[in-house]
């Protein structure tokens, strides 16, 4: 019995082994992208059909679950294309000899069902695409004689299209890598991108390639005609090098040179850095009022920075210092300068800054950290103009002289004068000081009694002026020559009656109030109310000083 089994095994087993494939290639079929569904579309129908078809052709197709887990592990978010690292990983982790992926390019069903399919077959040993297939098929393309057995639906279209594409599938796939493994740069860093002369540049490169100790290449970085040896760090798995820049301003490309012991050489461009040792040029324009060579303001000042040579700005800082050098305000930012700054005149405590001279300075750093500074003085002036008022009589009229004290020119003034009864006598306004204003006071009822007064004790009749007209006024005792009174008091009158003197030197002491507004060009406003302009008479001022009353001159002759 055992002999029979042994004989069977001896003859049948080689026969079975001969019929089975000697070594089935492992094929990974990635889900087919469907561009007709957008950038993230996937067509499982074509993917599954391809898996079944390839299985039928004798390939060892990797299971879907394993493939999806691989894609998730490698964070593959796009279909339709692969990168070298994905292909190498698929070989290492899935054991794939070949990778098949592709795209359903067009798919429209509204008019006549149509499909387009593009497939790529990649050899994982050297990541080379060794076969591509591409075709499009519409229901209108399937034409039979006399229209017999023609189908208008998309039924069977996908299978037919896939078969069309696979028609050119190679009978004998060459799995031997024909090309050298490419130099794969997984990542690189070249910092800083902008440097000054004397700064240090750091460069490191991570390569995906692995070499044996015998074939380990030497790696250099080349910049500005100089070569720097890169040192391999096992901890970070990077090739590092650094060097000090000693070149004039300009852009310098950096290349990586790989020298293998066999003499093979490979040069790859890494990036470039720019040497910039020239600081930016900057000026400040202050939008304010020029006063004695300094820009002055009351509420806020607009500061406009201007680059004389345009170049990108990395960061900036604006600060305002008082005359003691203490910082009152500061602000900073990154990136390009704002179009303008505004200082609202507040100090660091949040209250309006005191009057005085302040220093506005703006510092600007370019990308290579060259710094430029522009400084401008600015004056804060908040004191309103001081009013200077003087009034004097000219006969029956009054002259008012209005001026101001201070360095800030006046932008506007206004004076409004009212009589003792509140009525407006005069309003004047203008833009320049000093100014002289003539005030014509309204005439009061005047009784001309000159001739009659010469006879003491004489009774005069003032028919036109008094009411009732027939009233008789006694003026005897007031008109004595020694009494040089200018005013005649009429005792018998119903109400006290003031009679103006006739001579021009006589003064009108009726009350005149005034309201004065003065605004300077910075916007500071002075508003004052004068109760009686008589108080601003020079004589009155003198009287107030000596407290003496001088008699009118004209009474002597009288």
């Amino acid at each position: 019995m055992l002999r029979c089994i042994f004989c069977f095994m001896l003859f049948i087993a080689p026969l079975v082994a001969a019929l089975a494939p000697v070594q089935a290639e492992t094929l990974a079929i990635f889900p087919i992208e469907d561009l007709s569904k957008g950038g993230n579309g996937v067509n499982y129908e074509v993917s599954n059909y391809l898996a079944w078809e390839m299985n039928q052709r004798g390939y060892d197709v990797i299971a879907d679950e394993e493939l999806i887990a691989f894609m998730a592990r490698h964070r593959m978010r796009w279909l339709g294309f692969l990168d070298t690292s994905n292909i190498v990983s698929a070989q290492e982790e899935l054991g794939a000899d070949l990778i098949l992926f592709g795209t359903v390019s067009t798919r429209q069903e509204s008019l006549s069902p149509s499909l387009g399919l593009t497939l790529y077959l990649v050899r994982t040993s050297d990541t080379r695409t060794i076969w591509t297939g591409n075709a499009g098929l519409s229901a209108q393309d399937i034409i039979n004689i006399l229209g017999i057995n023609e189908k208008s639906e998309k039924e069977g279209l996908m299978a037919k299209l896939t078969q069309n594409v696979l028609q050119s599938w190679p009978e004998d796939l060459n799995l031997i890598a024909s090309q050298q493994q490419p130099l794969e740069i997984a990542g690189y860093s070249l910092t800083p991108e902008h440097v000054q002369r004397g700064d240090e540049v750091f460069c490191n490169v991570t390569l995906r390639n692995k070499w044996s100790d015998e074939d380990m290449p030497r790696i250099f970085f080349k910049a500005a005609g100089r070569v720097y040896r890169a040192v391999y760090s096992a901890a970070s798995q990077k090739y590092n090098s650094e060097w000090i820049v000693a070149d004039k301003d300009g852009r310098y490309p950096v290349t990586m040179v790989v020298n293998w012991p066999s003499g093979r050489k490979k040069v790859a461009y890494i990036g470039s850095y720019r040497v910039d040792s020239t600081p930016p040029r900057l000026v400040l324009d202050l939008k304010g009022v020029q006063l004695q060579g300094t820009v002055a303001f009351r509420d806020k000042i607009i500061i406009v920075p201007r680059m004389l040579r345009r170049e990108p700005v990395a960061r900036w800082k604006l600060r305002v210092d008082d005359d003691m050098g203490e910082e009152q305000m500061s602000t900073y930012g990154y990136g390009n300068l704002p179009m303008r700054f505004v200082w609202n005149g507040l100090g660091r405590d949040g209250w309006p800054a005191e009057e005085g001279i302040y220093k506005i300075s703006l510092q600007v750093w370019d990308r290579a950290d060259n710094v430029a500074e522009a400084v401008e003085p600015v004056a804060v002036a908040r004191t309103p103009p001081t009013m200077v008022l003087e009034a004097k009589n000219r006969g029956r009229d009054m002259i008012v002289d209005l001026s101001h004290e201070g360095n800030v020119p006046v932008a506007f003034w206004r004076i409004e004068m009212r009589g003792d009864d509140g009525s407006v006598i005069k309003v004047a306004e203008g833009e320049e000081l000093p100014v002289r204003i003539d005030l014509n006071r309204p005439t009061r009822r005047t009784i001309k009694v000159a001739e009659e007064l010469r006879s003491p004790g004489k009774t005069i009749k003032v028919a036109d002026q008094l009411r009732p007209p027939s009233k008789t006024i006694k003026v005897a005792e007031r008109l004595q020559p020694p009494r040089k009174s200018t005013t005649i008091k009429v005792a018998a009158a119903d109400s006290p009656l003031q009679i103006d003197g006739l001579r021009p030197e006589d003064k009108d002491k009726r009350k005149v109030s005034a309201t004065v507004i003065i605004r300077d060009i910075l916007g500071n406003i002075r508003k004052e109310k004068v109760d009686n302009l008589y108080d601003y008479f020079p004589e009155q001022k003198n009287n107030q000083e000596v407290e003496t009353i001088t008699a009118p001159v004209w009474l002597e002759s009288f």
């Binding site: 561009l35 007709s36 957008g38 950038g39 796009w78 339709g80 294309f81 692969l82 990168d83 070298t84 994905n86 292909i87 795209t103 390019s105 067009t106 429209q108 509204s110 008019l111 006549s112 149509s114 499909l115 387009g116 399919l117 593009t118 497939l119 790529y120 990649v122 990541t127 080379r128 695409t129 076969w131 591509t132 297939g133 591409n134 075709a135 499009g136 098929l137 519409s138 209108q140 393309d141 034409i143 050119s168 024909s178 090309q179 490419p182 130099l183 740069i185 490309p253 290349t255 490979k266 040069v267 790859a268 461009y269 890494i270 990036g271 470039s272």
Partner: protein
């Protein structure tokens, strides 16, 4: 008298010559219209390495029309034809996209010569192919029947300098490939893009862009 006869003879021969030219050119013209125009190639400079080029990178074509994903469709088909017709070693699209991403380039943005050089260096390619889809439609204007058309401009750029070497324009319609009646008419964008790509690559190879023997 002789002069008059000579003039009449000359006029007659001129008319015959004109009709002869028309009779020859008209069928040729009709045939040309039916087949569509051949790709127009503008050669700014010669190909490097005497046209013996193997390593090629294809950048994603820009989509200048409102056909959805038109640039991607043509890029995939063109790359497929390039590999199929010339056995070229074309860089993986994923590698190209990764480098563009590292350069912070957006789709459709034009690469500077320095960036192009860096990209080519990283991929180890000799030339870079890029282009734009200028026209792509699969139906007639009112959508009543299939009538695909594709127009593209494709550029070959030198990797070492970043300059444009060749520029090719090609436009084709589905009806250009009609043999008789409705036979031969191309009804899908994919098939038309394939034919258009093949025409461009054939024209390049005729001009000296040699196949890769590797």
């Amino acid at each position: 008298m002789y002069a008059l006869i000579w003039m009449k003879k000359d006029k007659l021969s001129s008319q015959l010559r004109t009709w002869g030219v028309i009779s020859v050119l008209l069928p040729a013209l009709l045939w040309a219209c039916a087949k569509g125009d051949a790709p127009v190639i503008m050669e700014m400079s010669g190909l490097p390495f005497g046209g013996e080029i193997c390593r090629v990178a294809v950048l994603p074509f820009t989509n200048q029309i409102d056909y959805r994903m038109g640039g991607s469709v043509f890029t995939r088909v063109f790359t497929s034809e390039l590999i199929g017709k010339g056995n070229y070693v074309v860089s993986q699209e994923g590698d190209v996209r990764k480098i563009l991403q590292q350069m912070r380039m957006l789709p459709g943005e034009t690469l500077s010569s320095e960036q192009l050089r860096a990209l080519a260096d990283r991929l180890g390619v000799q030339i870079v192919i890029t282009g734009a889809v200028l026209e792509m439609r699969d139906k007639t204007r009112f959508g009543r029947k299939l009538d695909p058309s594709v127009a593209v401009v494709v550029r070959i750029m030198e990797a070492s300098s970043g300059r444009t070497l060749w520029t090719t324009y090609n436009r084709s319609e589905g009806t250009h490939y009609r043999v008789v009646m409705h036979f031969g008419v191309v009804n899908t964008i994919n098939e038309l893009a394939k034919r258009s790509s093949a025409e461009i690559i054939d024209a390049w190879q005729e001009k000296g862009f040699k196949k890769c023997i590797d």
